[in-house]
Symmetry: C2
Subunit: 187 residues, 2 copies
């Protein structure tokens, strides 16, 4: 069973697992890249593995540099993403609306968080840990494969956009870009 | 059963499925991000779903702009990756050595190829199609989940590197980078 030590956001109000939000999560499916291919039964299954927290306006939910093994699904409200520039000042780099996820990369690879995330107004946040995803894969392999496929698709699309922007920026900066260091994320 | 119409690289010499290469593929596991967590039994299972081709020096194996629903695993030799610059000239952007994969993104999202790939010397190439991956997931769910997890990990690491390079390039180019358009690939 769940222990309070399993809670990933001890600074926030914990509302229990996401089963009570299953119908609401299902209604958000059209806006949600991660869950767009899940039906209501699959959302119900998944919701047992997700924890829900309430964040107040201005509360920090992820801190740049921290380790973290979970992703966040914004159920209500919105989250601002800040990263320190070279001068050490926080700079807004993205805004994440309800239905969208953040934190996938650290959930997957365990590397430190790349940015700081702050609730812009009262927000509800679903948390899915790497351990929960591993349990889904073992206990509900078809559901697990669907979530993994969506993660792969999201990451691939982002990598395509980011690679494209990087190549354009490098061309602007110094003419022909150098050979990427083993970067085969281009094909 | 396999039909010749299923062959993704009709211009290359087809050598059959990868079962005959299973021991060799397994020996490459330490150099292979995609297969690093597979044991010999799993490599043997996977090899039934992979087709092997031989490419001669200078042969094009993927063309920028083509559609493509497969990834390539370089078993022997190496592949050069070219992308057209604004003037329409091919420019070398990456070199893919044995043990590494290319083409994952189009395999996953079906978007046109981002670059052209040419064999640099005689090469052996394993092909894994989206359909084969879907069959692995259905018929061998644990193996499927392992391959998907490795894909997620590879894409995440590449996205992290690419995002980092993009932010640096944008800072160089014009000072503070603008707010990313919904880009949450940063956390």
């Amino acid at each position: 069973m769940e222990l309070s030590g399993d809670r990933r956001l001890p600074q926030l109000e914990y509302l229990g697992d996401a089963t009570q939000f299953a119908a609401r999560l299902h209604a958000m499916v059209p806006d949600s890249p991660l869950f767009e291919n899940l039906n209501l039964a699959e959302i119900r299954l998944m919701s047992h593995f997700m924890q829900v927290y309430r964040a107040q306006a201005g509360q920090e939910v992820i801190r740049e540099g921290d380790s973290g093994d979970f992703l966040m699904f914004v159920i209500e409200g919105r989250i601002e993403v800040f990263r320190q520039d070279r001068a050490g000042s926080p700079r807004l780099i993205a805004v994440v609306e309800a239905g969208k996820t953040l934190g996938e990369m650290s959930m997957i690879d365990g590397e430190p968080r790349f940015a700081t995330c702050v609730a812009d107004g009262a927000s509800l946040i679903g948390v899915l840990t790497r351990e929960s995803l591993a349990r889904i894969i073992l206990e509900q392999p078809i559901l697990g494969a669907k979530i993994l496929m969506e993660l792969v698709l999201m990451l691939s699309q982002r990598l395509r956009q980011t690679s494209s922007r990087l190549l354009a920026a490098l061309e602007n900066e110094r003419g022909p870009a150098g050979v990427a260091d083993g970067g085969t994320g281009f094909v």
